[in-house]
């Protein structure tokens, strides 16, 4: 059989030529903001790195009471275990970073407008799940830092009136963070979250194929003859892969030059270590809660509840932006959405900086 007849045999059954024709006609707009189109692909690449390194860690990780000992073994006994663990931790941070860049670029290019509302909503859900991935994965080594980070982090759901404590106990598997917590976080991290994340990611990527890349309003306003584009195959894909290679190089550099550390084993009787602080992507909400708690009439529980309400409101406004700012023209609403975006960026950056500034 020739390769042509093998191809025909498969094509007749799977419709490869339809896919090939689709790929041939796919184009990507070219304009001054095209750089931001790569960040979704970079996020995808880093997610694939997470899957790959995660499976490798799974080979030796033991959840439950032995969690710390098994991570110690991975880090100090198994050849290159430190590198694989470091790559997993660094890639997690980089993935959250690139998803944030991707989200803000979509926001400011107004790429959430019709017909791309589901792309925005699924993207926000993916970011939400990614942060739960980060939170649950952070506990798994069960060292001092992860113990206190989880303890503090679970105070947030615990502050919800009435049902909060029950939710926190359910997440913890008891009144305090223990080996039961690491066991259920493990189940969450490697089974439940991937099972939700992967199909949602498929949906997100399918929508990108269906609607193509959005052009920013200033480009859409141009007459069709003045809009430029490049073919996806091979031009854009080649640049996409170059970005993946750059990401891989940065990741390899960070993971090997700054290996992720492993603290002392957690001890429920030990006091919290000095300078303890959340991961950078949780620093902003953490600091906002702290700042709200400083307002005299919001001290204690009212402050926590006010903080949670404010977050919920802010996130709801953010998620629902396609339904507020939906007109193609840049009218009053479009400007308001733009300023809301700038405010969000400023608030996130400012509280993150204050958070790191005030670490004691």
């Amino acid at each position: 059989m020739t390769s042509k007849s093998i191809y025909d045999w498969i094509d007749e059954r799977l419709g490869l030529s339809e896919l090939a024709a689709f790929a041939r006609h796919k184009t990507v707009p070219v304009h001054s903001q095209s750089f931001w189109y790569y960040w979704g692909g970079i996020s995808l690449f880093l997610f694939l790195v997470q899957c790959f390194t995660g499976v490798l860690l799974l080979v030796y990780f033991r959840p439950g009471a032995e969690a710390y000992e098994s991570v110690r073994q991975i880090t100090f006994v198994m050849h290159f275990g430190w590198l694989i663990r470091s790559a997993h931790a660094w890639s997690a941070s980089l993935m959250i970073f690139s998803i944030l860049v991707h989200m803000f670029s979509v926001y400011f290019m107004k790429a959430y407008r019709k017909p791309r509302e589901f792309g925005w909503l699924s993207g926000m859900a993916l970011l939400g799940i990614a942060s739960v991935f980060g939170f649950s994965g952070y506990l798994l080594p069960m060292d001092e830092l992860s113990y206190f980070a989880t303890k503090v982090g679970l105070q947030i759901p615990a502050a919800i009136p009435w049902i909060g404590p029950a939710i926190a106990n359910m997440l913890r598997g008891g009144p305090d963070v223990s080996e039961f917590t690491v066991q259920r976080f493990f189940a969450l991290h490697v089974v439940v979250l991937p099972a939700i994340f992967v199909p949602l990611l498929g949906f997100h990527l399918w929508l990108v194929q269906r609607h193509g890349n959005a052009s920013p309003p200033c480009v859409e306003a141009l007459p069709p003859a003045e809009r430029k584009s490049m073919p996806f195959l091979p031009n854009f894909l080649r640049k996409d892969l170059a970005m993946w290679l750059i990401s891989l190089n940065i990741l390899a550099l960070l993971a090997s030059v700054f290996p992720w550390s492993l603290g002392k084993a957690f001890d429920p009787l030990a006091p919290a270590p000095l300078g303890i602080h959340p991961e950078w992507y949780f620093m902003s909400p953490f600091e906002m809660l702290k700042l709200l708690g400083m307002i005299p009439w919001l001290q204690g529980e009212p402050g926590e509840i006010a903080g949670i309400l404010l977050f919920t409101l802010g996130i709801a406004l953010w998620v629902l932006i396609p339904f507020y700012d939906k007109d193609k023209e840049s009218g009053q609403r479009a400007r308001a959405a733009h300023y809301f975006g700038l405010l969000a960026v400023f608030a996130l950056l400012a509280t993150t900086v204050i958070g790191y500034w005030t670490i004691r």
Binding site: L56, V59, V77, M78, H79, F80, G81, L83, I84, L248
Partner: protein, 160 residues
Amino acid sequence: MTDQSHLVPVLEEPGEKSTRRAFLVAAGAAGLAYTAALAYPIYRYLASPSEMAMEATAVTEVTLKDAQKLPAGSVLMFKFGASPALLIHHADGRWISMTAVCTHLGCTVQYEPQADRIHCACHGGVYNAYTGDNVSGPPPKPLKLFKVAVTDSSVDVSRA
């Protein structure tokens, strides 16, 4: 004006072919280097336990504390390096130690005191409980004997 239309179809200059070739070779070499740089740590990572087991097989002597109290006509299973082994205290007082890994397909064999033989339950292999010789069934080779030295506080087993 001279007619230059004959130049138009020439898309590749003579030197272009070799630069393209050089580029492809360099890209291929870089790809191989990346693959090797990724594959090597992953291979070593996954091979760690077998490397540790290899180190364990380098063991030449095992001291079994208090094993001298083993009653006559009974057996003690222990680990010699990475693999299981038998220490038999025969009814006639003789001490025999040998590997417990069947030479047929690697199952762990057992000592049967009533028949005074070593039996492998997987495929019915039988060995002599004194010499380790393969008596019947599929095993192709005898079980390796170890040297045994009984002291007041332990039994020392070493590679013969």
